[in-house]
């Protein structure tokens, strides 16, 4: 489902993200799955 038209291409695999600095919780020891989703 398209929510916004003016967005870019999305973060690319291989790049780096500091979840904590984005204000997101870092819960998993083996990695973190972030899912952008709209409530249905």
């Amino acid at each position: 489902m398209k929510v916004l038209d003016e967005s870019g291409k999305g973060v690319a695999a291989g790049s780096k993200l500091d979840l904590a600095s984005l204000g997101l919780p870092v819960a998993g020891r083996r990695g973190t799955l972030v899912v952008f989703w709209k409530r249905q």
């Binding site: 973060v11 993200l17 083996r30 409530r39």
Partner: protein
Amino acid sequence: MYVGPFETTESCDEWKREYDLAFPVVPDADGALFRRLTSGWVPWSILVAPDGEVVFSENEFDEAGFGAAISQLLAKQTGVAPTATESTQRTPAARRASKAATVVILGGGVGGIVAAHNLRASLGEEHRIFVIDRSPDHLFQSSLLWLMVGDRREHQIRRPLERLTRRGIEFVHDEVVEIDLERRLVRTRARTLDFDYLIVALGARTVPESIEGFGEMAHDLYSLEGSRGIKNALDAFTGGKVGVLVTSMPFKCPAAPYEAAFLVESFLRAKGVRDRSEIHVYTPEHQPMPVAPAALGASIVEMLSARGIQYHPLFTFQKMRPETREIVAADGHAEKVDLLIAVPPHQAPEVVRSSGLLGVSGWIPVDPGTLRTEHEGVFAIGDVSTVRLPSGKSLPKAGVFAHNQAVVVARQIADEIRGRRDGARFDGGGYCWIELGDGRAGFAGGNFYHDPEPRLRVARPGRAWHWGKVAFEKWWLRRWF
């Protein structure tokens, strides 16, 4: 975790409670993260390794691709190589699904247009959808019958295919010259396109030039030029014998020659020359619309008779004699006609004939439910394909089937790309309006896959069905363009 664009802390808490979610649900109140990390589509999934490396970032991913990313992530942490690799253990379908896919659709007719729109609506922008057609315009062919009697003008029934680009579909105005199934590419005169999925929706080509004298003697019922010619001829007609001739089988839109006869009859009556005219239908069929149950054919014969239209079944056309204005049957019987409206022979387009896709029938054989050819990821829909019915006859060539098949094929491809399987299958459903002139029409529809013969419901003819057909035409041209 879920991140909710344009959600508040309160709405996220409520969301978590309502669905009993065991993981964090985080608001992104102003959508800043959503804009920065996604392409604007949900769901968007990002898998981040403990060292901050993004190992996966996609909208509506396929399971195989996501599984491979998790294997890679775990292998990196344990030092053990993943056991599955894309190249050795995944199916070709899963390999195709692991990246942005390219779907190439040959033909901008009914099937091609519907497939392209349905795919576009189901797939993210990273997947490319091409429609290739040698014509710059889509022509709503069933309205040629109305053009022929002056009820439509050309601009009312054609739309520029370039408009597809507004919907995120890439239109290539060019002629397809080669389909290379081995290397999975399509060549046009100007470019080469690789495909992950190919939908052949090129329709049936009419070949009036295969009949000597056709251009001198007959008007082609299935072309824009032919319809213009019929209109001019009818305007100039002052009486005589009109022939509607089916030169060979199969032909598309099985009702069309009968509709043409009904409309011409109505036109000549309104013009005041009906009493000086004869109208004849010559066809190799044993009854009108022979795939349908006999009762439907009988009702059409009855309506022809009621309007004084003479019906000549089992007329096996052999040749035209323009010098004497005669059509000649295989048994040598000749009929002289003053105005000849003809259904030309049909065949698969040349590029399909040289592709290796054709079966012995001269059309592309496909699975009746999935419309898949024997080549993986290659589908054929509409008039260019052939489906054998339980009765042993072939599914008629008609736009309604191309439309319904396109929906099914688009769903299968979209599901495969997204790693889902819902088993969409074409069930043989179809329907048909039959124009009867005087603003009236009949209607029949049902299941053509029903065993042992199609099960159709035939509605009583009336004005409502004519207006239903008009409404459908308007809807179609507005919906897709």
